[in-house]
Subunit: 154 residues, 3 copies
């Protein structure tokens, strides 16, 4: 399979892991020193590096996933990701950078299903055999404010 | 074309048939003894087999489509399906099983367009030449309750 | 790359141009005498040709984009397109006609993110080397009424 198709598959599997579980496997889509960050278009323009959520290692991601599971978040709410076609923005010997639009709807227990977030993934992938692993995922949300701390990963 | 691409095309055509009509052609996406079922994630976990909607033959699907058309449902509401990339979960000589995320927005006459349902299709396809036909589609809705009886097919 | 894949890429780039800017590049996805039109399913059935928005040259599209930028529309609202798989409906030596479902969510400053429009693109593409350019895009909205004049392109 070509790189684009491997990346499509990795993105579909990533979304399934969050939407259908188990959330504990989410860090495995990243490389060991993989970085995950949630930010907004506005913050990105102002070059604010902080982000709403930040983890710069698979261990940090595991801690985050464990905290969310312990808080029983996956029992109270669910996501459904809809992901567009990735655009390859640059490619080196070792990494492929892509940009991919997404919309996430959130399903609340006993409540409505609503659009929770929209935006784009700025990803850097490293190919490991037939697997595309995330060296970095920057989730750039369209909305100027989003409460990322109390949410499942995007 | 490879199997995945044929399945993608079948899923796109299925959605167009419901979203843009004619609804009467919907059963043709199934094999003769094809099964269609709508259920929820919760019911699936509890292994409740009943489902909200159930048909286990193309004839049953034709009856259902005819009843919806007679009730003038397609004139009162419309759907727009957005379908993600299918994941092949297993493959035998005769069948391919896939899992595919979806979101459906509903357009009401004179009303708003809202997210109506989200979930995933658990499909089993049989290849008939260049056509992938559904031996089974289990629509697993994310929301714990959905009124499937009064709705267009998902 | 085959035609379908080139068209998928053109559609993804078109959406990125509107969702992430710069809007001024939007006319470049059309051929010189390209036509852009927004209509509804109901109007299409009644064969009403007028449409809500209409431009029949790249120059007309440039004027429209400039007017929207001058009105500071992109600062007040944003879109996120989610686009389904295109279906090739006909193909000639020079053009490929496709039909593609879409949903657009709109992000308002300080407001919620909501489903703004759903529908399908009826496109005619001309291949220019490795680029698929729009000879015509008819945006057919599902909802019977949509205020197209005060909106970003779909």
């Amino acid at each position: 399979m070509d790189t684009l198709r491997l990346i499509c598959r990795a993105q579909a599997d990533y979304a399934r892991c969050i939407d259908d579980g188990p959330l504990e496997h989410w860090p495995d889509f990243f490389v060991e020193d993989g970085c995950y960050k949630v930010t907004t278009t506005d913050d990105l323009k102002r070059d604010e590096q902080a982000g709403l959520v930040w983890a710069d290692s698979r261990r940090g991601l595991h801690e985050r996933a464990a905290a969310l599971v312990e808080a029983r978040l996956p029992e109270q709410q669910g996501y459904r990701h809809i992901i567009g076609l990735p655009t390859i923005v640059s490619e080196t010997q070792t990494e492929t950078a892509t940009e991919t639009p997404f919309v996430v709807v959130r399903i609340l227990r006993g409540g409505p299903t609503e659009v929770f977030a929209s935006g784009r993934y700025l990803d850097r992938y490293r190919m490991m055999g037939q697997l595309a692993k995330l060296a970095e995922r920057v989730v750039v949300c369209d909305a100027p404010a989003i409460n990322g701390e109390l949410a499942l990963p995007l």
